[in-house]
């Protein structure tokens, strides 16, 4: 095909600019159809009965009364699942409906379809389930050796990472070494997206089903649904409906199997919309963690060895626990040069709610611990915390504790310097009451407010790791006057749909392309909208498909006009030759023909971690630094996060407004984990499944975010040189806030979220 034609670059719309989101208009008008907004003629309402117990044997289920209720069209239990009884993201270990035992509070036991949601609710009340409660296993540390609560055992995965010459447990030898030790905890965070789980399933005449649903990965949902329905995958067609936020919570199947079963058994469309309470039970959460650490450094502050023991509570089923614990181990020492490491990381099953993916998984938990350790080390060495981090900062060419050499960019020192250089906000001499800790409560005594500043750095892998065949497919079809791009990548709010138009602008000289709906029937998998991977993976796939289609069209025109292929290119959506002797509309250029190119894009291969936690398991890494400024009412323990400054390694900025939006939104979730958000679980029972009791930051809680730097060092191998930006803002923002509260109070505060009693009662 010859060299790629050059495209006239119009800076107005292409990569690097901030064109409007194509879904912005429908979203501000209220016309954008979220999965909860869909309706079909004759649709029934589905609802799920869930276990009130964390651990129990099911002695009897009687659905007769529920079936007899007028207006009820189906009552389904495990007996009605025609295919696989189990599903799961990595391992099939979770029942569609519990039949013999329940392993967590909220586990589905039965489902009904009825004419009206109220009738469905009454039908659930009429289902008799006789439980024999058993003692729940709720201590993740005890779970390692306790009798198994699941046939697959309690330890989902143990990573035994040994790196360097001194890799066994124990203090390193050497003169003048300084060691610091601590045990840290992270509570269970919820993704708390705004749009609860919902969907619409419509059966067809041939025994298949169309499911319109909000999800992060259509094809992996389809495969799990098809296996449970005992249908070939092509008879289960998933369509992306509008997604009201995701953040990891829509990686696992929630209602997908239930709703399709109900639709197929009633031969009627079925709609399911979770309540907020059901949403808290219906999706996985961020793994709580307990982490012991010992850091040893030489007198100059160079890290010599990191030892850690990390236990992640995966709850009753495995979800993505094996990948989460892999991240926790691999990133357990932070973005620092560490010659020796001895890390044992466990993900275990308990009778607590299942945990899985949430923004920054695995990396978030350990960052709160290793950054607290770095501050302790700085104190022990009498070094400035920022200086200590700079002395140890990873750089390109350095080796991680997994033995992997970073071949890509690693501007760790740069993000630290840029973040630390941001001017500090000035303390207001007479702050309004709303700006004080306590805010609307106006409870803080300004004289008893202490300001603190904390600093933290974090990093994480981009894309799927450990040998996973991580691909994305895209298709570009030019027919008539139209260019249509098809890709199954889930738009969950991040703005992938904007990126598609920017890519098309750069390839075709026009953004006037049609992005077809994301679904499973017409295009291959795009992989998951997670792991900060879609800009790289599906951006790369769309770019390659568009280029292939453009080159095919230009090649045909060149051949028809007796020109060499490199003489023909596209400008402003027209096919033109260098001297404009040929200047055709798309329709003219096609001459009645069609161009249809499909591309499957893959990143560089990776390998699993070996039995010492070593191996080139990751493709690429992204880094960020955060500096938090907080005001703390030391008497009442109230914290006001005043400002977060941040610098982030982004590779290349493709859409400045959307990049900053990801950073600000990610920091909001990091701040939430630091001082507000926790699912409280007692004996396996969730105590706060509502926005009344599970608090996320409001507009008043959210600090000012100061973007101190978007560090652009193009990443080799990345399409456009861009790194994913979604997760790094969430990784070290929590640790920075915790550090700032420690600085303000002088307290150790080894656990996040930091609650008022941790400060107020400790200070007495």
């Amino acid at each position: 095909m010859g060299t790629a034609p050059t495209v006239a670059r119009r800076d107005r719309l292409g990569l690097g600019t901030s064109p409007l989101r194509p879904d912005g208009g429908p979203k501000v008008r209220g016309e954008f159809a979220f999965s909860s907004d869909l309706w079909a003629e004759g649709a029934l309402w589905g609802r799920v009965l869930r276990s009130p117990h964390a651990s129990a044997r099911i002695l009897r289920i009687d659905t007769a009364a529920a079936r007899a209720l007028k207006g009820v069209h189906a009552v389904l239990t495990a007996l009605d699942v025609p295919g696989s009884e189990l599903y799961g993201l990595e391992f099939q270990d979770q029942p569609v409906f519990a039949s013999d035992v329940v392993r967590y509070m909220g586990e589905p036991v039965a489902a009904v379809a009825a004419d009206h949601p109220e009738i469905a609710r009454r039908a659930l009340e009429l289902i008799e389930v006789e439980y024999e409660p058993t003692a729940p296993l709720v201590d993740p540390e005890a779970a390692i050796t306790a009798p198994p609560i699941h046939p697959e055992g309690n330890v989902v995965r143990h990573i035994r990472l040994r790196h360097g010459e001194d890799a066994e447990p124990g203090l390193p030898g050497g003169d003048g070494l300084v060691s610091v030790e601590g045990t840290y905890e992270v509570g269970m965070q919820d993704q708390a997206f705004m749009g609860p789980e919902s969907g619409l399933a419509i059966p067809d005449d041939g025994g298949g089903v169309d499911l319109y649903v909000s999800t992060q990965w259509l094809h992996v949902d389809r495969d799990q649904v098809a296996a449970c329905l005992a249908l070939p995958p092509e008879k289960v067609r998933l369509h992306l409906a509008g997604v009201g936020g995701a953040f990891g919570a829509r990686e696992d199947v929630s209602l997908q199997v239930h709703i399709c079963l109900l639709a197929l058994s009633t031969r009627r469309p079925v709609k399911v919309v979770y309540s907020r309470e059901e949403s808290f039970f219906g999706h996985v959460h961020r793994h709580p963690a307990r982490m012991w650490y010992r850091h040893s450094a030489d007198p100059q502050g160079r890290l010599v060895k990191v030892e850690a023991r990390i236990v992640l509570d995966g709850g009753a089923y495995s979800s993505s626990s094996s990948a989460v614990v892999s991240n926790a181990a691999a990133f357990s020492s932070g973005p620092y040069r560490v010659p020796n490491a001895c890390v044992d990381a466990y993900a275990v099953r308990t009778n607590n709610p299942p945990c899985g993916a949430m923004r920054g998984f695995g990396a978030v938990q350990v960052c709160t611990a290793y950054e607290a350790q770095m501050d302790k080390l700085a104190t022990a060495l009498d070094l400035d915390p920022v200086e200590l981090r700079l002395r140890n900062a990873l750089a390109s060419g350095d080796r991680l504790i997994t033995g992997q050499v970073i071949n890509g960019t690693a501007p760790v020192a740069e993000v630290i310097r840029r973040c630390a250089a941001a001017p500090l906000p000035e303390a207001r001499p007479h702050p309004p009451a709303m700006a004080l800790p306590g805010g609307a409560g106006r409870t803080a005594d300004p004289a008893r407010v202490r300001r603190g500043v904390g600093f933290a750095v974090g990093f994480k892998n981009l894309m799927y790791s450990e040998g996973f065949d991580d691909s994305s497919s895209a298709r570009c079809r030019i027919e008539g006057g139209a260019i249509t791009v098809t890709c199954a990548a889930a738009e969950v709010g991040q703005g992938f749909v904007t990126l598609v138009h920017q890519i098309a602008e750069d390839v075709f000289g026009t953004d006037g392309v049609v992005l077809a709906p994301a679904e499973t029937a017409t295009v291959g998998s795009a992989g998951s909208t997670s792991a900060s991977r879609q800009t790289w993976m599906s951006g790369g796939a769309v770019d390659a498909a568009c280029r292939a289609a453009r080159d095919a069209l230009c090649g045909r025109v060149a051949a028809r006009h007796g020109l060499s292929p490199e003489m023909v290119s596209m400008r402003d959506g027209r096919v033109v030759s260098l001297g404009r002797e040929v200047d055709l509309t798309l329709d003219e250029a096609l001459a009645g023909d069609v161009v249809d190119e499909s591309v499957t894009f893959r990143h560089a291969p990776t390998v699993p971690l070996d039995d010492k936690g070593q191996g080139d398991a990751h493709v690429s890494f992204a880094f960020a630094a955060h500096r938090a400024v907080v005001d703390v009412d030391v008497d009442l323990g109230l914290v006001r996060v005043v400002e977060i400054a941040t610098a982030q390694d982004v590779g290349r900025v493709l859409h400045p407004l959307q990049v900053v939006g990801q950073i600000e939104g990610g920091i909001a979730q990091g701040v939430g984990l630091a001082v507000m958000e926790e699912i409280l679980v007692t004996d396996g029972l969730v105590r706060n499944p509502s926005f009344t009791d599970y608090l996320i930051p409001t507009a008043l809680d959210m600090p000012v975010v100061e973007i101190a730097g978007l560090v652009e060092e193009p990443e080799p191998g990345a399409p456009f040189g861009a790194k994913g930006v979604g997760e790094p803002p969430t990784i070290s923002s929590t640790a920075a806030v915790a550090a700032a509260v420690r600085a303000a109070t002088g307290l150790e505060l080894p656990r996040v979220p930091i609650r008022p009693e941790h400060i107020a009662l400790a200070a007495q």
Partner: protein, 160 residues
């Protein structure tokens, strides 16, 4: 055991249009808007008045439709997100949300836009802190609010 089939006649004025409906008396305004009138721009987020996704304007004042019975708003003018734009012409708040990164997933957007519109009607030049306070009842999980605050400031500058 059937739910009460008794329905009541209800007269609602929604987006400038008089509507006469037969509704279950226990249905919330949110349910009536979404399921009877198919005005699905008003979102369900928490059923408890905590998240603000179901915000509508009643007589120009932001109200949580999940906590209201339709009978409570008879005789008042209800504005949902579908009624804010003037045909093809967006309200300045809507335009600014698109331009300034005021939305990502968009689920909170209808309620947030209406709450912002009500603020600007009552206070055309709010400070950033006044905007934060006015929008504190509307949760957003995507943006971290900065884009929303920027958008409301922009809309204030440009007027309606």
């Amino acid at each position: 055991m059937r739910p009460p089939v008794r329905r009541e006649v209800l007269r609602l004025s929604v987006n400038g249009e008089e509507r006469e409906l037969l509704v279950r008396p226990y249905a919330t305004l949110l349910e009536v808007l979404r399921e009877e009138l198919r005005l699905t721009g008003t979102k369900h987020g928490c059923e408890l008045g905590e998240c603000g996704a179901c915000t509508v304007l009643v007589g120009g004042v932001p109200q949580l439709s999940c906590l209201l019975l339709p009978a409570q708003v008879e005789g008042a003018e209800v504005t949902t997100i579908e009624g804010l734009a003037d045909g093809a012409t967006l309200d300045a708040v809507q335009r600014a949300f698109m331009e300034r990164g005021g939305l990502q997933c968009g689920y909170c957007t209808p309620g947030m836009v209406l709450a912002a519109r009500a603020l600007l009607d009552a206070n055309p030049s709010p400070t950033r802190e006044e905007i934060r306070e006015a929008l504190a009842g509307n949760l957003c999980r995507c943006t971290g609010y900065a884009g929303i605050l920027d958008a409301v400031e922009d809309a204030a500058r440009s007027g309606r």
